[in-house]
Symmetry: C2
Subunit: 564 residues, 2 copies
């Protein structure tokens, strides 16, 4: 009987200690109280008249769209936390209802560029002096800060006994991002994702305060983008020329939808490697097309195929195509690829062998440098900044201009090498942030095969990633942000949300406000972090996201499932 | 240009070689032709008059339900294979339409017991002599054979150009199961699954010719079963006493639904270990309740807690409860648990220490033997046969009667040990058939933790499992079948189907007809198996199953993604 008593005491102590509601990602500064408000049935959401006078049509559209989404949550969301007993008190002062949230914006910035001010301040008082309805305030420099503030506000709400409650008032939140580039990469080429799945992903991203959708839109396996200049790219290279493509109109829809949610769309057209899909329509500009069965000598995965970097026709192709592709997208950055090129592929291409014999001062590496530099020049002419994968800087040591951004997908040593060369970087290590890892070999005949990047990246592992690991403060300034990545050899619409959520949320917090306890250099996914993430996971499920459970519900409720 | 030509030649050769349609699991005998029929808009499905005269109300209900499901597929299923070019010829003889499928059943067996005849013969001719509509025939000993035959028939259909086609006629299929126990275990206690998810799982299981749903219905974390004798078991031990329980009525619904689909429901009430949930209402009959934080000394996972096997009250409990539980279920087998007991838990329980000091001839092991034997006697009195986990026979070497069935979840050596003692076994090794493995540590604070049974079990690994491994022919006769298992620490309704399908299908084929090439002792997940499984996966997706993709679609179409 004593042990049972102790057990209940522990539970009680846990409930008391875990009296946090689950903001995710955690704000940078947050002071809260202990009262609970209910939301008035007449709750209204309005901007100050000063704000109204500042906004233009663009920013007003963004604001109205965000307000509508919050109002939808207020009517549709019936979220009951698995820890509801710990969050919502039994007795609520019925006179305390929140009647209004007032929004102020001080500048009219409408371009969602890298580095835009995304800060906000959210104050929810417990009382006020006049007779007006109790009013909360949300202040931000830009409308994009307001988007984050409204998402934070939505996470403060809990549904209980047919009422929408707002516990732990007063709230005083001052919040801003740790990184200006907070991305999620989705590969829509290995398997195709309909536009609706991308839009849903954008919604969930915005709740998690991600602000970049890195659209890895084409790859060796398929070319779903419809080009007017080269229509056969998708006619022959998409999985289906009609139903499994992204038209210019689709892309615009995605961009517009994302912008209303504070998310930039950065497309990636990976070249010159990973381009077998181009061979379906233009084999004449390709090298080592689909070598079988020993593809291993030509590519990291089938089907092999790279643009033939010695042919004038290939240059004609990129000069015609890339300006069209850049014109489809509005962001000032364009990812030009540069991932995993295979030198043997080119070394064994007859036309390249011939070219090199006629140009003894050339080599495959000088051809590659020429190709990448020319690609980047085309991108710059379209008034955009190129992004490249690390290989071009690290493995091939290409003399690329310093305006570019380098995406590093391997270890901290490589991050250090790239920033020490003076490049800005986006990080996201395959040891921590590759969501595809751990699902075994997808090649057909491999009984005991594991994924190349085993093991599976748990939320704990993702949360323990330090983007600044091993960098000096000066070097750290060149890290503009990070991305969590989903390569889709083993993902398609059937399991997209299971792969992404809530694991991507762990990355979102690292990118937004850093680890829970900012004094800790090594991030610890401790009990409080897990309790908040669990709560956020259940709220996402309530919003119809197929976010996977992290533990048995017993653990989610008690928090008693740690290793000793 | 030559390589492009060769590439297309390889594609062509592949299409020719892969002209299989995707029956899954593969029938034991199947001879097929090369013509394609379309299904007549007036297609009918009827039984012979002899069959009508044999059937009673029960068997008729099963038959009518199966016929309705097939007719539903005929109208709703619009399955287009990703390999449709290889399966459906461009030109179809419009005069060739299948007008009828005639069903004959020769016995009226209505009890779905272990070993019931599930064989069937399905013949689809390409022509016949008379003027009647072209008629296929399905013959079976029992109505349960018919269920399998109709599911096979449904897999022969492909939708193309607004027509439902049946390629590769004539078909001559003679089919029967390799094992009579073909199970899938679902743990509904670590996380709760609503009845509707169980029903959906039963549907998908039936398409895969599984015939046993092993309902691991309670565990340490929760007791969702509503007992009339001990209502507080679920009132206090279920995750929610109202919404997260299985009532007697729910259980009957599941049993009835399963039977119409040829599936037995075998419940498992694991005792004396894994019973912490009982402590929520009856702490007085428990040992080592939820030891924290060092639960590792008391259980394999939190929360710890075992029935106190020294107390008369515990015996009173099982004598009152088990007859009620057995009465809820109709199957002749009842899984009484016996999994992973922790001896230290009992060794450190004061009342057990006291009992042993007063009974010097007793030990924890003799108490355990008494408890298990008494449990099994109660089961036998309810006219059911007990099933036990291997530990009781192997680790504890208990002198249990030989009528029981032993479920082995570890290696082939243990299978051999158990059958050599004369017990019948159900197999399903954690090295091959544990679907939960490979998703990292679910304990909260373990950054680099992996699942205890890493790596993730791919379909290839699952398919390579040999239930008879290391057994003599005589020993093999004691293997009554196998089960694929989903323990749900990291699964709930959000990811159930992703975990189960199509990986469970790989186990289904091993259990139904064995590996593709029966001459091979080691099972090889070769190109043809993958092509069929891929096709079956896409058909399941078409039937709204969230079955995960095994490869990029490019691989699914070309079959060119093997290791060299």
């Amino acid at each position: 009987m004593i042990s049972k008593f102790l057990f209940q005491l522990i539970i009680l102590l846990f409930y008391i200690s875990s009296n946090v509601n689950a903001l995710w990602p955690l704000p940078q500064y947050w002071v809260k109280g202990s009262k609970t408000l209910s939301i008035s049935p007449h709750f209204s959401l309005k901007q100050t008249s000063e704000t109204d006078s500042i906004l233009n049509a663009k920013t007003k559209e963004i604001l109205e769209s965000a307000k509508n989404r919050l109002l939808n949550f207020l009517t549709s969301e019936k979220y009951v936390s698995p820890n509801v007993k710990s969050i919502v008190p039994k007795t609520i002062d019925e006179s305390n209802t929140l009647g209004c949230l007032t929004i102020s914006i001080t500048t009219n910035a409408s371009e969602l560029d890298l580095g835009i001010d995304e800060s906000y301040e959210l104050i929810i008082p417990e009382s006020q002096n006049d007779d007006d309805p109790l009013t909360a305030s949300l202040k931000a420099e830009t409308v994009f800060g307001v988007l984050h503030g409204l998402n934070t506000f939505s996470q403060l709400l809990y549904y209980n006994n047919s009422k929408l409650l707002l516990p732990f008032v007063p709230h005083n939140i001052k919040d801003f991002p740790r990184f200006s580039h907070r991305g999620l990469l989705l590969d829509t080429a290995r398997n195709y994702f309909p536009v609706k799945d991308i839009l849903t992903t954008l919604d969930i991203m915005s709740w998690n305060k991600f602000n970049v959708f890195h659209w890895h839109i084409v790859d060796a396996t398929s070319w779903p983008v419809v080009s007017e200049v080269y229509p056969d790219l998708s006619n022959k290279g998409a999985y289906d020329p009609e139903y499994m493509v992204y038209t210019k109109k689709d892309i615009k829809k995605v961009i517009d939808y994302a912008k209303l949610r504070g998310i930039r769309i950065i497309p990636e057209f990976d070249m010159p490697g990973h381009t077998h899909s181009v061979a379906e329509s233009m084999p004449e500009i390709m090298s080592c097309i689909n070598k079988q069965p020993i593809w291993t000598n030509y590519a990291v995965e089938p089907p092999s195929g790279q643009l033939n970097i010695a042919l004038p026709k290939t240059y004609e192709f990129i000069h015609n195509l890339i300006p069209e592709l850049t014109s489809y997208f509005t962001d000032k950055y364009y990812h030009a690829g540069g991932d995993e090129v295979n030198i043997n592929c080119w070394n064994t291409t007859p036309s390249i062998i011939e070219y090199l014999s006629q140009n003894p001062n050339s080599s495959v590496e000088t051809l590659l440098a020429k190709f990448i530099n020319e690609t980047h020049e085309i991108v710059r002419k379209s008034k955009k900044t190129p992004i490249t994968w690390q290989e071009m800087i690290v493995n091939h040591n290409l003399p690329l201009m310093k305006d570019i951004v380098v995406q590093v997908w391997t270890t901290k040593d490589i991050v250090k090498e790239v920033v020490s060369k003076g490049y800005r970087v986006i990080v996201g290590s395959s040891d921590f942030w590759y969501l595809d890892c751990g699902h075994g070999a997808w090649v057909g005949n491999d009984i005991n095969g594991t994924s190349w990047c085993d093991p599976y990246k748990t939320w704990q592992k993702i949360y323990s990633y330090n983007p600044f690991d091993g960098l000096t403060d000066e070097e750290a300034k060149l890290v503009i942000g990070g991305e969590i990545l989903l390569w889709t050899e083993q993902a398609d619409p059937t399991n997209l949300e299971n792969f992404l959520w809530p694991r991507s949320s762990a990355a979102a917090e690292i990118l937004w406000s850093g680890p829970y306890d900012t004094s800790k250099k090594i991030r610890t996914p401790d009990k409080d972090v897990l309790a908040r993430l669990t709560d956020w996971r259940f709220r996402m499920v309530d919003r119809d996201v197929k976010a996977i459970p992290l533990q048995p519900l017993w653990c989610a409720r008690t928090g008693m499932c740690d290793m000793p």
